[in-house]
């Protein structure tokens, strides 16, 4: 042993240190790729916000004149533009907007004359309540139907027909059918409005949540059913059956576990889609949420609100899809160890 630096020679590296090194590398690789992934996601949000900002500013028509009316004097228009900072170059304005947005300040609404933040904050709760309520219903309904259809051959075709029809019912059509049955004829739920308090919100948001859940639970059910049937046909399941493993245990340990990855992907994508669906359903039930604010602001050409809400939605989608990717890495050892192809 003539070498001065014992660490460079494998002979001197103890087993423990080696193991430590390997563990460190194992953690370092995902950590670095996670950092890259998060950076890419942030960049996506940034580029999307820049594109929306530039596009909204390039839109034909002058929002200031639209708000002040056609008879406003030129001086008044110029004054208003100056107050809003609209007389600066586009890129400067984007930079200012971005700086403020990072601090939670999304500018002033042209129509409501208040800060966009004060418009968003009371509405966020309604939209989140609606989306997670319907996610819960979607998963309960979709997974139940999907597992039954996948595990019990006799139920396979009936569930296929059911999900095929449900998939074709847009949320706003489901909304009308539900209103006719459960609000007008049975009187169980109100026709529209937000409701006060948790119980009131729960009651008011039940029909909106169900109308969103109808189509998406059908999708979750279809993917679940397909995933279970595909996994059940794999060789390792046959082998396990040949070893005499009981059916329930076989299903739980060998089928459901392998089928869980596509099911989780679909659940995550559903969450992202429910936010988009909320835009339409909030309008169908006259709910005061982010989606209805977005639509009314588009009609009123209230661009600072449109910009804030749409960038917020983009951020939500990006975060949700990143979380799904992260879950994949955690759940699937093939991806975690980089052997997935």
């Amino acid at each position: 042993m003539t070498t001065i630096e014992p660490d460079t020679s494998p002979d001197h590296t103890t087993q423990a240190a080696m193991r430590q090194q390997i563990t460190a590398r194992r953690i370092a690789r995902p950590a670095r790729s996670a950092a890259v992934a998060i950076g890419a996601r942030l960049l996506t949000i940034l580029v999307a916000s820049l594109l929306i900002f530039v596009a909204l500013n390039a839109a034909p028509g002058d929002p200031v004149r639209a708000v002040l009316g056609a008879h406003a004097s030129q001086a008044a228009v110029l004054h208003e533009r100056h107050l809003l900072g609209l007389d600066h170059p586009l890129i400067v304005r984007y930079w200012d907007w971005l700086g403020n947005a990072v601090h939670g300040n999304f500018g002033t609404s042209l129509v409501y004359k208040t800060s966009v933040g004060s418009l968003l904050s009371p509405r966020v709760g309604t939209t989140l309540f609606l989306v997670f309520y319907s996610l819960l219903l979607t998963l309960i309904g979709g997974l139940t139907i999907g597992v039954l259809g996948g595990a019990i051959p006799r139920l396979s075709s009936p569930t296929a027909v059911l999900t095929g029809v449900f998939l074709a019912i847009p949320a706003f059509v489901a909304a009308q059918i539900l209103v006719v049955i459960f609000a007008l004829h049975l009187g169980w739920f109100p026709v529209s409005g937000n409701g006060v308090g948790f119980a009131g919100q729960l009651r008011h948001l039940t029909l909106p949540a169900i109308s969103l859940a109808v189509g998406w639970s059908a999708w979750v059910a279809q993917v679940t059913r397909a995933a279970i049937r595909e996994t059940a046909a794999l060789e390792h399941v046959d082998t396990a059956r040949g070893r005499g493993i009981a059916t329930t245990r076989l299903f739980r340990r060998h089928v459901l576990r392998n089928a869980s990855i596509p099911i989780i992907t679909v659940s995550g994508l559903t969450l992202a889609a429910l936010f988009a669906g909320a835009v339409v359903v909030e309008n169908a039930f006259s709910l005061n949420g982010l989606g209805s604010l977005l639509v009314s602001s588009v009609s009123a050409k209230d661009y600072s609100v449109v910009l804030a809400v749409s960038v917020l939605f983009v951020a939500i989608f990006v975060v949700v899809t990143s979380v799904i990717d992260g879950l994949h890495v955690l759940l699937d050892p093939r991806i975690r160890h980089g052997s997935a192809r």
Binding site: T44, A48, I52, A55, L56, A58, A59, P60, G61, G164, V165, L167, A168, I169, P170, A171, F172, V173, Q176, I177, V179, V180, L184, V191, A272, A273, F275, A276, G277, V279, V280, N283, A284, L294, V295, S297, V298, S299, K301, Y303, V306, S310, F313, V314, F317, V318, T321
Partner: protein, 288 residues
């Protein structure tokens, strides 16, 4: 390749499709029903009993009768006629969305599968980013920029649908690329463009049609939703989505016919086109 031999191959393909339809009576039934819906839209002036825009203040919200088979709406217009005319914009918008998305998506996917390398990777990355955004949000932002009407949502949805088409077509085109006939074409000295357009494209054609049919069904739902929230088709023009929201106040007063019939038209059409797409994609799988 001469025109006659091209014709013969096309004939053989049609024959194969006819044979597949013969083996699969469900495909024939579904395809016929879909064609009927399109026919109703095309022949609306011949089929509609009344003028869909003729208001009649004395006969508002009538129930179904011999004179008005589905009754009248809040402005006294014949609901059945509005339903029949509504089919036109309800199908035209999605048709424009799908034809442009499929055109661009297919070109991009085949080029990307053929060229490969960095081009393929860049295209895949851009499509991934686009994939993350729900179509309906893109459409709403487009309306904010270009104003209400069918045009902005149609363009936005066409862009949003490109990744769905491109993903599927790319994977199939990649598979075709490694088949013997492509090598044969190359050794005959055909250009890459010619092999792609004349040989790969026809072979994946049925699969693309199947994808387009399913995309058409979901474009019907998306565009109807945009009309429903008031950002799509503008009155006095109308489509089924707008009819659902037009009838919403009558629905609360126990006249649900307009809303429910328009909603039913959407659901039935979407179910049928989804079924057609699924059947066609099964046929295209069987053929390979």
């Amino acid at each position: 390749m001469t025109a006659t031999s091209m014709g013969r191959i096309a004939g053989r393909r049609t024959a194969a499709l006819t044979r597949a339809a013969g083996r699969d009576p469900a495909l024939t039934v579904v395809a016929t029903l879909c064609a009927l819906i399109v026919l109703v839209a095309v022949c609306a002036p011949l089929l509609a009993p009344d003028d869909p825009t003729q208001t009649d203040i004395l006969h508002q919200n009538l129930s179904a009768s011999g004179a008005h088979l589905l009754g009248t709406d809040a402005l006294g217009r014949d609901i059945l006629s509005r339903l029949i005319y509504g089919a036109r914009l309800s199908l035209l918008g999605p048709a424009l969305v799908v034809s442009s998305a499929v055109g661009i998506g297919t070109a991009l996917a085949i080029a990307s599968a053929w060229i490969g390398g960095p081009f393929d990777r860049v295209v895949a990355r851009i499509l991934d980013v686009l994939f993350a955004f729900p179509a309906i949000l893109l459409a709403i932002v487009a309306v904010a920029i270009f104003g209400e009407g069918l045009a902005a949502p149609v363009v936005a949805l066409a862009i949003a649908y490109i990744p769905y088409v491109a993903r599927v077509v790319r994977s199939v085109a990649l598979r075709e690329r490694h088949l013997a006939y492509v090598d044969a074409g190359r050794s005959l000295g055909f250009s890459g463009f010619k092999i792609c357009v004349r040989h790969i494209l026809p072979n994946v054609g049925l699969m693309i049609v199947a994808q387009a049919t399913i995309a058409f069904a979901s474009a019907i739902m998306d565009l109807a939703g945009i009309s429903f929230i008031g950002l799509g088709v503008q009155p006095p023009a109308s489509d089924w989505g707008l009819m659902v929201s037009d009838g919403a106040s009558a629905l609360l007063n126990d006249h649900p016919v307009e809303t429910l019939s328009a909603g039913g038209a959407i659901v039935i059409t979407v179910v049928l086109f989804n079924l057609l797409g699924e059947r066609l994609s099964t046929v295209s799988e069987v053929r390979r």
